[in-house]
């Protein structure tokens, strides 16, 4: 089975720092890593390949630093990585990113299945896999918690109120949730072998596209955390009751109990 996986190199939100004065994110040089849900998508693709044979190719779109994610992509075991970069792609919106992914997929040409994380773990737009499907006029299955390829493709999508089990035609686009699997952690020897591998490196202009976006982000701020931070120690059993009483009194004053 020939699978294409869309993989984004996201900001590592856990490590993201915000300017204490302005509340704005300090993105310059902020650590990045493979988006967690995309990693699950790659793992799912690799598992299918291990069962059925075929190839796993990846498409990555982003600013030049995005190339760094290829090492991990190859360390996990993908066959070929395609990367499209441009300095301005940090400002891309979901429509643009989806268009670029689709142009790259058209270069790859043959595929049976397209996988992607349900959302990137920095932007969380939850849109790109669906847009890729719409642009390619393919069926789309969101937020898969399980997938089996056995004669046909069966996808279980967690749609909030219920889990929908679909029999999906091929080719289709499936986005995966964090719950779908536990991705492998590549060993050092896999990393070392991967570092010798080449990848397909494109500039955005090679695809004849420019950075044109409809969504314009005006401002991003972290709202100030203004909480009272009244903390009592209750590790010492003799002091526990006093501490708890103090808190309960405050809660009563706040009128929440």
């Amino acid at each position: 089975m020939d699978i294409i996986v869309c993989i984004k190199q996201s900001y590592d939100v856990q490590q993201l720092k915000f300017d204490p004065k302005t509340g704005e994110p300090m993105l310059a040089g902020a650590p990045r890593k493979m988006s967690d849900m995309d990693r699950r998508a790659l793992e799912e693709a690799l598992k299918i390949k291990e069962n059925l044979g075929g190839t796993v190719k990846t498409v990555t779109v982003g600013p030049p630093e995005s190339r760094d994610v290829v090492k991990e992509i190859y360390a996990m075991g993908a066959d070929e990585a395609f990367v499209v970069t441009d300095l301005k792609l940090d400002k891309a919106d979901p429509d643009l990113t989806a268009k670029i992914i689709v142009e790259t997929i058209k270069k790859i040409r043959n595929f049976d299945l397209i996988l992607a994380g349900a959302a990137s773990t920095d932007d969380y737009s939850w849109q790109i896999p669906a847009k890729v499907a719409a642009l390619l006029d393919l069926p789309f299955f969101p937020n898969a918690v399980s997938m089996t390829v056995d004669g046909g493709l069966v996808v279980e999508s967690d749609l909030g109120d219920a889990i929908y089990k679909y029999k999906a035609p091929l080719p289709s686009v499936v986005s995966v949730s964090l719950e779908i699997n536990e991705p492998r952690i590549p060993t050092l020897s896999a990393i070392l072998k991967a570092s010798r591998k080449q990848f397909m490196d494109f500039y955005l202009q090679d695809l004849g596209l420019g950075v044109v976006t409809e969504l314009e982000v005006r401002k991003v701020v972290m709202p100030k955390v203004e909480r009272k931070n009244v903390v009592v120690e209750a590790t010492d059993p003799s002091k526990m009751e006093d501490g708890i009483k103090k808190i309960l009194d405050e809660l009563r004053k706040e009128n929440v109990i």
Partner: protein, 311 residues
């Protein structure tokens, strides 16, 4: 200006109606993909209902439902389409936007219309920050070409019945290559979104049986119990969790018991009036986000809390 609203979720639909009226819509229409009864319910909230009978369409399948939604939009002339921000809604919005050639934005918590067009506030970086976004460079011009915004549940009050809208049936002719094999309903999270008091169990709670202790605390406080993501997604102690990509709560009182306070969880509790935490680790991040904190062993503190609440 006409604003159309769509959500498969009844409560969220009512919230969207409120959001639409905040945008000073002169006319609010609703898209319904469901039964005639669903259309009649929607007619009580909006000026007009355009509905596709889901018995002609089958159960939710993104590609096919987008066709239906597209026909509905083309059957009217909305400048803005508000979609309920669920997995189902987000998928439809994303695909519809491609079909219409209009932008779609998700995770929206607030909206307004200015001379520049539709401006929204959306969650950024998974809920850690808020972004102000202009939706679409071109201001409203084309017919039946709405900007699309997916609104998060719980940010607008549900609208009251006030209208007697006209109902129009829209036809759709879709051949599907997808089969719905099974639909397994999930138990919903015990009314967490609306609860006044929410007590959440985190990793500090060691065994599933210990959740009964948390339930006792919730009962003593007059609230409901939730869990953090690891307890639901990894340990399967509950069907859903409180946090980003789970349920967002906005109670008067939130109590985190054995909750460390990862950003993803905080994103789901940020709008609580009062946040209280019980944790054995004085360095747990949750204490930064809490109004009141108790550093101690939950297995000793919680029983004491219950005892002192009852007296």
């Amino acid at each position: 200006m006409e604003i159309m609203v769509y959500s498969e979720n009844e409560k969220l639909f009512k919230e969207l109606v409120t959001a639409a009226s905040h945008l000073n819509a002169s006319r609010i229409t609703s898209a319904v993909i469901g039964s005639k009864e669903d259309a009649e319910k929607a007619a009580k909230y909006t000026d007009k209902v355009l509905f596709v009978d889901s018995s002609e369409l089958g159960e939710y399948k993104p590609k096919e439902y987008v066709e239906a939604l597209c026909n509905i939009v083309k059957g009217s002339d909305p400048q803005v389409l508000l979609v309920g921000g669920t997995h189902k809604g987000n998928a439809l919005a994303a695909m519809l936007s491609v079909k219409l050639g209009e932008p779609s934005v998700t995770e929206v918590s607030d909206l307004k219309i200015t001379e520049e067009g539709l401006m929204v506030l959306r969650s950024a970086f998974g809920g850690v920050a808020v972004a102000e976004v202009r939706v679409g460079k071109k201001v409203f011009t084309k017919v039946a070409s709405p900007k699309i915004a997916c609104v998060k549940p719980g940010f607008f009050a549900p609208a009251e019945e006030s209208k007697n809208g006209e109902i129009e049936k829209i036809s759709v002719d879709v051949k599907s290559s997808t089969e719905v094999l099974e639909i397994k309903k999930k138990e919903t999270g015990a009314g967490l979104e609306d609860a006044d008091v929410v007590v959440v169990a985190g990793r500090g709670v060691k065994k599933k049986e210990d959740l009964s202790l948390i339930e006792d605390l919730a009962k003593a406080l007059g609230g409901v119990v939730g869990v953090t993501r690891p307890l639901s997604a990894d340990l399967h102690w509950a069907p859903t969790w409180v946090g980003m990509s789970g349920i967002a709560v906005k109670p008067k009182l939130y109590v985190g018991v054995g909750v460390s306070g990862q950003i993803q969880h905080i994103a789901g509790i940020r709008n609580s009036k009062v946040i209280m935490a019980v944790n054995t680790d004085p360095n747990a991040p949750i204490f930064e986000h809490a109004d009141y904190g108790i550093v101690g062993d939950l297995y000793q503190v919680v029983p004491k809390l219950i005892e002192m609440l009852k007296s």
